[in-house]
Amino acid sequence: MSVKLHALYSDSYVDIGQYRDQHFKGQLGEQEKLLKQSHTLYVGNLSFYTTEEQVHELFSKSGDVKRIIIGLDKVKKTACGFCFVEYYTRADAENAMRFINGTRLDDRIIRTDWDAGFKEGRQYGRGKSGGQVRDEYRQDYDPARGGYGKLAQHRTTEALNSF
């Protein structure tokens, strides 16, 4: 076809997001390049009790899953509500972004985003208390993610202790 039309269709669910890994080691622009070629997805807002099996069952609906790495609390080494899903092909990962992102797993709306690729160490939460950063500061009560946010928990404990 001699007509070169730049995407008469848009495919916005596949676009890379705003998040950039602050710990990423590489040149400027490299992270974007990797994200655009990546076969790996970051999956967030999981329940702490969601298992690798459940993740595998759901994400297999968009293609063969190569590997799943469950995110762990750095201190407790237990699941802390995120994971990485790596596919064999980019196309399968794209379908996950289009059709699994924003739907429910374990009754929770999960969120997927492109990831530049798993590296050892990235399976750990980066919050001060060992879990994810988002669980440090949040104010709401989420029983599937350890209850109140860590800061709120500390404050409660301190308040109780000071009595």
């Binding site: 007509v3 039309l5 008469l8 269709y9 690798e52 459940q54 759901l58 289009r98």
Partner: protein, 777 residues
């Protein structure tokens, strides 16, 4: 759909912006009057831009014709207005469309070619193209039915194109050329009567004719056109903006289509496969509001066609897709939710396979439920209920998709369902479709949640259908197993593994395992010792049972040992047996372990096929996980072949480039030599992989034939009806192999006919093969 700008050296913001704005308006469901004034405005802008941007405008409009079929009449009106203002532009547009049509056909894009022809035919309504020249094109198309020695699907396509344009342009063509049109239709009728329809039963979602016959798509369309003709071509559903501009348009000069000879048949042509029209609803099903148009009304055809087009355009963006479906023009006169649900299920259950990935439909339906929470979920529930009621005659492959859809859908809505409504499935033999369906659904629901959740979910009466708790079954678990021959060594091996012993140490320990297959002590060479495999693998998998990752890690760490133990075909078969025995309550785990073992070459694809068809697995034969494993295995084999073929092509390309360089630089002969060697190696690899692939299919077909022949003979001798649930499942699973992998299987037709599907075969089995052949005849 955003009309994104054409990247060109001279970026012309204004033209593209105007078109983008217009497209946004059309997408947003503009009111008719707004649409009309915008069309007028846009035509004015574009006309002014023609001197400078004619090529660009032509290209965009041609692309729109090909890619936005659901907005057909809006853009034909635009072209009509432009033609009225600038006759030459109209002529150039028609020429560009014909060029595009030729190109599209050459590249096997038959669906897009339909949209192009339909666009051209609607241009007759806009006074751009003269009716007689359109009739002439249709006559050329229909003359393809006179060709000899061409696949039926070729002439089918040309007939389909003509018929599918008639809702838009039938009236106009009949008014101008009724004699020619009558002749055309009678030719088509003759063709449709001669057509071979062996393929139809293979493509039907239900084997029953009631409540709705599933018609072959051409038969249905013919009936719809017949009815339209009887109604004197009065068609009131299609939105026709050009009517408002009639006074302007009828002043325009028309162009004649150049004579168009359909391109001849090429051996590598891939015509669309035939299909069956999916119907689940009729006028009795929408309780309130507008009535559903009858199955042979042309309105039904147009609505379904437009909804399919919307999905085709927007499937990648579910929110847009759902919004576009729900804002279908004229929606107040039809039970739109029913049409949408019917069209979506029609695609999901389409045989051989859905037009888009299965999970898209699940997510689209969820999106639709979000946008219409007061009405769509009820229609969806109604459809689900109807599908459940007709399970007895539903095609097995379609039922698989229903199981996957329903369980995934429920997992997004806290698994809420009125299970008691389906209590009738409890009183019947569990091999019957209804209880089987419920069992498989509950199993899939469990995979997306956990066992206790399912127990709490269903009424106590359903307990027999609840899946087993997915726990490991360890043979050597405790002292009660002490009498088993492998017990003592299982403990030693277990401790060795826990203490990170080396492979050599572990193999030494395993040497002590007696071989039940041998009479004398002969530990020379690696003869097949099933007990050795059993002891090692059971113990290893037991230690690694905690999660998939643990098990994968175990397979990886002890890969060497496993490869040694499974060096023979019997070894491979036995390892699969052991995996099944320990994890029979956790089919999901079995599937991922088998996948891993194939990928790490511990077992090969043929071993997996033989294992699935083995006597030991006969009692699981109708369970979904068996077929998921088999199809996954075939897919892996296919991808493997494709991968090596690609490597070979790339090496050949590299060599060609190198040879060009060589003509200019004498020093690159070494590299060439290396490449040639590499190509030779890859060639061998490809041949070996292709041979393995062919062997896999032959094994599968052979096993099917053996099983089915046994059954048929047994039934005949016992004077029993052959149509048991097992038999229905078996025959449809065989069909599924053909349908799901038809592209690969086409290569083996010769071998299949000469070796396996010969005339001596029982006619029941042979019929499946013949139906498959009929799909591309």
């Amino acid at each position: 759909v955003r009309l994104v700008s054409i990247r060109d050296e001279t970026d012309d913001g204004r033209v593209v912006c105007k078109l983008q704005e217009f497209d946004r308006l059309v997408r947003g469901g503009a009111s008719t009057s707004s649409l009309e004034s915008n069309l007028e405005g846009l035509a004015g802008v574009l006309e002014a831009d023609l001197p400078n941007y004619k090529t660009k405008i032509l290209r965009i409009l041609c692309a729109v014709a090909r890619l936005l079929p659901e907005k057909l009449t809006v853009y034909t009106t635009l072209v009509g207005l432009l033609n009225a203002r600038n006759y030459n532009f109209g002529g150039e547009f028609v020429e560009a469309m014909i060029r595009q049509l030729k190109e599209t056909l050459k590249n096997n894009f038959y669906n897009e070619a339909v949209y192009l022809v339909r666009f051209l035919s609607d241009l007759v309504n806009c006074h751009v193209i003269a009716a007689p020249s359109m009739v002439a094109m249709f006559e050329n198309f229909v003359s393809v039915t006179q060709e000899e020695d061409v696949p039926q699907v070729r002439s089918d396509w040309f007939v389909y194109v003509v018929l599918s344009c008639l809702p838009w342009v039938g009236k106009e063509l009949y008014e101008k050329k009724d004699v020619e049109m009558d002749r055309l239709l009678s030719q088509i009728e003759g063709y449709l009567q001669r057509r071979v329809k062996t393929h139809v039963s293979m493509l039907q979602v239900w084997t029953a004719e009631k409540p709705h016959p599933q018609e072959e798509y051409l038969d249905c369309l013919w009936a719809q056109i017949q009815k339209l003709k009887k109604d004197r071509w009065q068609e009131r559903h299609i939105l026709r903006p050009y009517i408002a501009f009639d006074s302007v348009l009828c002043e325009a000069l028309q162009h004649n289509l150049p004579p168009f000879t359909p391109p001849g048949h090429m051996p590598d042509a891939q015509y669309p496969m035939p299909r069956v029209v999916f119907r689940i609803f009729d006028y009795t099903d929408a309780p309130e509001g507008p009535v559903m148009p009858g199955s042979h009304s042309v309105e039904r055809f147009v609505i379904e066609e437009n909804l399919h087009c919307i999905i085709k355009t927007h499937w990648k963006e579910r929110k847009t897709c759902a919004a576009q479906l729900l804002s279908y023009p004229g929606k107040n006169k039809i039970p739109l939710n029913y049409h949408i649900v019917e069209v979506i299920f029609g695609e999901l259950f389409q045989l051989p396979s859905p037009p888009h990935i299965d999970v898209m439909y699940t997510t689209l339906l969820i999106e639709l439920c979000k946008l219409q929470p007061g009405s769509l979920p009820q229609v969806l529930a109604q459809a689900t209920e109807m599908l459940y009621m007709r399970l007895d005659s539903m095609n097995t492959g379609c039922m698989d998709r229903l199981i996957n859809w329903f369980s995934h859908h429920l997992s997004n809505f806290q698994f809420r369902w009125s299970w008691d409504d389906w209590a009738d499935c409890l009183s019947t033999d569990q091999e019957k479709p209804k209880p089987k369906f419920v069992k498989e659904v509950l199993e899939k629901c469990m995979r997306l949640s956990y066992h206790q959740r399912i127990v709490d979910l269903v009424p106590a009466t359903f307990s027999a259908l609840i899946p087993a708790e997915p726990v490991f079954r360890y043979k050597y678990a405790d002292e009660s197993a002490a009498s088993l021959p492998g017990y003592a060594i299982s403990i030693t091996v277990g401790n060795a593994i826990k203490n990170r012993a080396s492979n050599e140490e572990i193999l030494t320990i395993l040497k002590e395992v007696p071989n039940p297959n041998q009479e004398d002590d002969d530990d020379e060479g690696e003869t097949f010792n099933p007990l050795k495999i059993d002891v090692f693998l059971q113990t290893l998998l037991h230690l690694a049972a905690k999660s998939f990752s643990h098990s994968f890690s175990a397979l990886g760490k002890f890969h060497e040992i496993l490869k040694t133990l499974t060096d023979s075909d019997e070894g491979k078969l036995h390892i699969l047996k052991v995996v099944y025995e320990v994890w029979k309550n956790h089919p999901q785990m079995i599937a991922v372990l088998v996948d891993k073992m194939i990928r790490t070459q511990i077992v090969d694809c043929a071993a997996v096929a033989n294992w699935l068809f083995s006597q030991d697995m006969a009692h699981e034969f109708s369970r979904l996980f068996i077929w998921e494993i088999l199809h996954s295995t075939i897919r892996k084999m296919n991808k493997h072949v494709q991968k090596i073929q690609k490597e070979l092509e790339e090496a050949k390309d590299k060599l060609e480039k190198q040879q060009h360089k060589r003509d200019m630089d004498k020093n690159s002969e070494d590299e060439e030599g290396q490449l040639e060697e590499q190509i030779e190696r890859l060639q061998e690899k490809v041949e070996s992989a292709q041979s393995e692939q062919k062997n896999l299919f032959l094994v599968i077909f052979q096993r099917f034939i053996m099983l089915m022949t046994e059954h048929l003979v047994r039934c005949e001798t016992g004077s029993v009806d052959i149509s048991t649930p097992w038999y229905k499942n078996c025959i449809e699973r065989l069909q599924q192999i053909f349908l799901m992998h038809h592209v690969t299987i086409q290569q083996y037709m010769g071998t299949l006919e000469n070796l396996l599907f010969t005339a001596e075969l029982d006619h029941h089995i042979l019929a499946v093969y013949q139906q498959f052949c009929a799909l591309q005849l």
